[in-house]
Point group: D2
Chain length 439, copies 4
């Protein structure tokens, strides 16, 4: 059996020198990133560990494990299934649809699957949208194309009307693939079904290109999205390098969470500054962004900024506009920074070559990369197992490399973001050499 002593790492001698880390341009102390002497990671698998220690396992908060059950709830011969995709596009939607259909068909013998069109709109009669029968043949190659073969839409519909449609269509199961707003809708649909006792199960596959779903690990499509975003960062770097005093600005998705900004910047090491909603920054002053950009250009000849769309909103006028999903419209931080930087250089009478990149929707309409494709397929398999076993009002996710069932409410409550004290942000700081504090 492995013991603590076995895992003790050797040192060649004592550490007595203060680390120079982050004592670069404009740097301040970065104590919060340092690893403490006692910080260690457990070796054992948790459940086994706790069991072996005699704890009352039943009382611990745990997630139900995903996977097939020996006994299931729905009779495959009479089960009719619906699938709907809601909200913005995300790489992998067609992979999920395809794997749901194939898993139902191949493994449960459920061949009666309907794809509802254009999100919840396709679940109310007013839209006039007819569902599409989804067979193995129909879904065979859909994963090779981005988007969703079912179409999508934003916004809610009347829950009672939706449940009426489910009953009228004779559905046993509804799979909802969508973001937090759509999951709130799915929760209400599941509750209404439970209230009516119609026996319809509602299982979600949560989607967010921003990777900010709580509890469920990385969201599908995220890897693909940041891989595509990193291409724009590389383009910006190549443009900036070719110019005299070249500055590139790349605005990427991320209203509340800077994950795409962080990972896409790490992916090709071409960014000099990463700005995310979670970390405020000053524009002016000796420790402000503009001064740091100037120093970087003076040192390296060019600089590239990666800006999450939700970053730096404090520098922009507040608007009252909202989009179809009810999100407050963001100010355009990318164009704002372009103007502010241009003015600063122009005011000094110096030449600057500014290039602005806004990959926007471009990063989300592509087919899933292989790793995301694997993940989508496995999420969908897990969702089918859960639904066939009668689970409802839940979503599937992955936690500590295991697939789990999570009550829907747990993924709609709040969004998590990049921790300003965590090791992801530290990696970004190390990769960009930007000051950890620009306020």
């Amino acid at each position: 059996m492995v013991t603590l002593a076995d895992l003790q790492v050797k040192t060649v001698g004592p550490s007595t020198i203060t680390s120079p880390l982050a004592s670069y341009v404009g740097g301040r102390t970065t104590n919060e990133y340092y690893v403490g002497a006692d910080d260690r990671i457990l070796f054992d698998d948790t459940v086994e560990l706790v069991r072996s220690r005699g704890l009352p396992l039943d009382e611990l908060p745990t997630f139900e494990t995903g996977g097939p059950r020996e006994l299931i709830h729905f009779d495959p011969a009479t089960t009719r299934v619906g699938i709907v995709t809601c909200g913005g596009l995300c790489p992998g939607l067609n992979d999920v649809i395809r794997a749901l259909v194939l898993e139902l068909h191949e493994h449960y013998g459920v061949d009666d699957v309907l794809g509802f069109r254009n999100g919840y709109a396709g679940l109310v009669p007013e839209s006039g949208l007819q569902p599409i029968p989804l067979t193995s043949e129909v879904v065979a190659n859909i994963h090779e194309r981005g988007g969703t073969m079912l179409g999508s839409s934003r916004g809610a519909q009347d829950v009672g009307t939706i449940v009426d449609t489910l009953q009228m269509r004779g559905l046993s199961i509804l799979f909802v693939i969508g973001g937090d707003g759509s999951m709130r809708g799915a929760h209400r649909i599941a509750e209404e079904c439970l209230r009516r006792g119609n026996g319809i199960a509602v299982v979600g596959v949560p989607k967010t290109i921003d990777n900010d779903i709580p509890h469920i690990g990385q969201s599908f499509g995220f890897q693909t999205a940041y891989a595509r975003a990193s291409q724009s960062i590389k383009a910006a770097k190549i443009e900036a390098e070719a110019a005299i005093n070249g500055i590139g600005i790349v605005k990427v998705m991320g209203r509340h969470a800077g994950f795409i900004a962080c990972y896409s910047a790490l992916a090709n090491h071409n960014a000099d500054f990463v700005l995310i909603p979670e970390v405020p920054f000053a524009l002016h002053g000796d420790n402000g962004l503009l001064a740091h950009i100037r120093r970087r250009v003076e040192r390296d000849g060019n600089a590239v900024l990666v800006v999450a769309e939700g970053a730096g909103q404090e520098h922009l006028p507040v608007t009252d506009e909202t989009d179809a999903s009810g999100n407050r419209a963001l100010g355009d931080i990318g164009r704002f920074l372009r103007e502010v930087i241009r003015e600063e250089w122009t005011a000094r009478g110096e030449e600057v070559m500014l290039r602005y990149f806004s990959p926007g929707y471009f990063i989300r309409s592509v087919p899933a990369d292989p790793a995301d494709a694997v993940y989508c397929a496995r999420l969908a398999q897990t969702a089918v197992h859960a639904a066939m076993a009668g689970r409802t009002d839940m979503v599937v996710g992955r936690r500590r490399h295991r697939f789990v069932h999570v009550p829907i409410e747990y993924v709609t409550h709040r969004a998590h973001g990049v921790s300003a004290d965590g090791d992801l942000w530290l990696s970004v700081l190390e990769s960009t050499s930007q000051p950890h504090d620009m306020t």
Copy 2:
């Protein structure tokens, strides 16, 4: 505080029907894959959980956490660092080299870095290979090209001679990027340095394209490799579909572990059979591979097999040959299957169109995909922090999304493989609909 009750998933009713899962062609019972009623995943972060439960934490086996320390061991002003890459190519080698150099330079101010050529051969004078000074400029764009800018080689060199070289060159730190054989070498070098008390730290970044390093999570380059392998599977499927009775065979890397076979097959859902070293199969008989292939071709018109190079060795004559690293030469299972299948169809007087794909080295010489690039950069940053803090005889890895320090011995003892009872293999079975037992 979250309680167990909060995480309870609802059901629409009881499960009383026996699951049809896996009762397909040639199927048998698959009880081992079913999730038991009590199988659950812990919600809490482990250490906090255990702490809160009053366990003596100090006695638990834990890994040292990776990351920067406030106090370090080596004085940056006088630290000279060496880097060496050993063994076969793997996507991301140049990313690791680059991030080591940049982290040393940008954050610790260590600018004296030597790249040794062609693996351990470059660390003995007989080879006549001179090291290359590695500056920020030299490594700026190396990650855009596959392979390793330092070259590599297989096989060991005399440990005493290597340590003599390290001392003669005045090194403080040696980073070794290599596979399990190379890590055994690194361990011996570290031990010899400790024995001599020369103060030289040896830190490894473990590499294996087969993803079979114990304890450290996914190995770098693995995602990129299976993504590339999946292209050959897709090509095989497209060829097979276009033919009458088309059968494609794709042999992929994986001497002892079928991870590449499993993930590349999952990545595009085009495989009908996946054969891995961990799961034996019979060739003949009603439940043998050949009969199952025939049934699949009769049902779908074509079939694609993905074969890990180490699979089915029991069907091949044993050879005594070994390669430069001392590995026993494997029989060529791919070509063997091609011949056996061809004979079986020819014997029946039926037409068959067989296509054989062996992507081989092709999958390992490419630049790292973005997700691997991120991972390589973060592994390298962690390795630099460890070495500067005086750690030695260890490798970096990631465990439960945290970067950790692992004694080298822990990654050279044994290889882990795909668990025949685990959820990865289950996903493969679900995706391919192949029988879970073909013996």
Copy 3:
């Protein structure tokens, strides 16, 4: 010998039915696209044909053929060469630089090559930019990265000062890679060198991402650029398809020539309307763009517009701004169309989902695709042969699959564009089914 009779194509009977081609939505007669009864393409290679017919060949306008000469002008042992890249980025710049250096080195033994930084700015002392020695090692892998390793800049410098620099540096040959403005500069430099009799040869490799260089066939980087642009069109289509009344607008490069718009639209068949500078269109009225978009959305549920940046300028206010190269600033036709379309749908109280894509610089900073890479290498080889044989004041190009020498003046006089009567535009009309006349 082949005769006309041999090449006569058979018909199964006479043509007596009026073609329905282009009698679609809003269509009018399209006589100009029809092939006339006598339109035929010559079989023979022209020169042999004309020779065989007894024409005085010496009087025909011909281009000098590119390629190596048995006798050359410059002594490789004492030849020093300069290379400069000017103007905007274009895929393949590094391929050209690399092939120039390798051809000089490998085949002529010329190892003394200087790369001047940042365009013509690097050829005047005021900039303080020092040239880079270009060896085989330096250029080995530069083609794997987009942009130009030498940097670039727009705008002219004093010709006398430049020629002073060339003489001071002891150059024999200057290669200029750049657009029409840069070629005008190269012409003036060549003339000044000839006037001074300093024996310095100036040879150009013409560059334009818009493919609008006269006489020299397709410009390098163009294939790569439109391939990248076509990705945005596909993204726009996928977004539009997923929405209810989805309309995508993709603005691509092309100030005066719609080649990128045409080829990128043809490349994936996803565009419904292509708007180019060469073909005017009305916005309003029953045959205007807005009405046609509406009909297309009503028919197909969505529509995608590809708009060259120079298209439809007649609908925009004239500005007096110019860029660094002296080009008049264009109005933003893409955003203009977005607003006009949005207003039209909003005025009718109908829902529309508009998505705007502006790949912009993104399409030009990538490495050259293989076909462009081949072309760049061969252009550069031709340029080296020409220069070593003492040619000056010329550019290289390809005409009828042969590499040729063209006096610089012939590529700076005028830009050619997409012929509104030609078969490229016809292919676009056929692919999009847009009306051939929307005025």
Copy 4:
């Protein structure tokens, strides 16, 4: 009007020095590559030129121009069309199918299109293969997947039976997409239809991944194929560079023509030797391949060979085997060279690291690259125009940038190959620096 004088290129002085070109390792004179003093390329468009000179145009051998005609032969309302794909896969097959269907539908209103399965096998009743109705919806996204949605097969079927099927199915037009064997079949079908006077038109779209169709310019899919092949060459280079005495061998398609070998080698400049069927080479002796490889490895540390499968057959035993299309089986030159090289190095007691790559079918099952996609669409549009105008027994092609009609017989007579005296081979020699003569 342009005159000869206008196009005269200037020189800075006379050429009096003998060119060192190709006087490298093992070099001999290369006079055949030199451009003669009188070699020039005509400026004018040929037909206008000849017309203006008063030649009797009607007697010149010319191709009929492709494109739409004002009067057509078939009445769209009653026209039924068949499409069949034959022979090996090639990138772009689905693009051609798709563009045929869309052009027929959108522009001629022909909606009755049948896709026959698996080549000519699908045109005889014995196969039991039923044709697929091809609508706009069915073909909408097929071009995003490689291969052919119709399937394919090799080998001929009885012509009378095929024509019986065409009549029984009530076809007006048959489009055949296939290689030279399939085109011979199409010619016989067209002749039989003409003999019977059944009014059925047969129009071909010639396909060969080896680019060796006479008269019709580059074949579709060729760019895509060599782009993919060039990836293997790059992989071979990266492997070879990383090793001590690394040698990579890449075998690519090309039974009789070395186009793929040449272009894929030019595409990334990583090859050191290109071996093609058109250029014989000696193995042994001071000017043999083995000696040149040795010198290159001694000079550069590694070497990469690109070998067309039909190259060097004179060194291999003759076999009597043939494939389904009746082609003589080739000896495996790639594996042969691997063994010969290994023996040579082993005999000298020297270490060598040999890596063998055989991308094979891998390069032909991918979707068409954008440039090929454009070409496929335009070829298909031209084929539809020709067939609707009643043309038969012909194929479409492109000549001097114009689309033309070519009698089928003209593309089945002979294959052309890489000219050993031409500028393509010269570019290869320049890029690889291999001796132009190794016999």
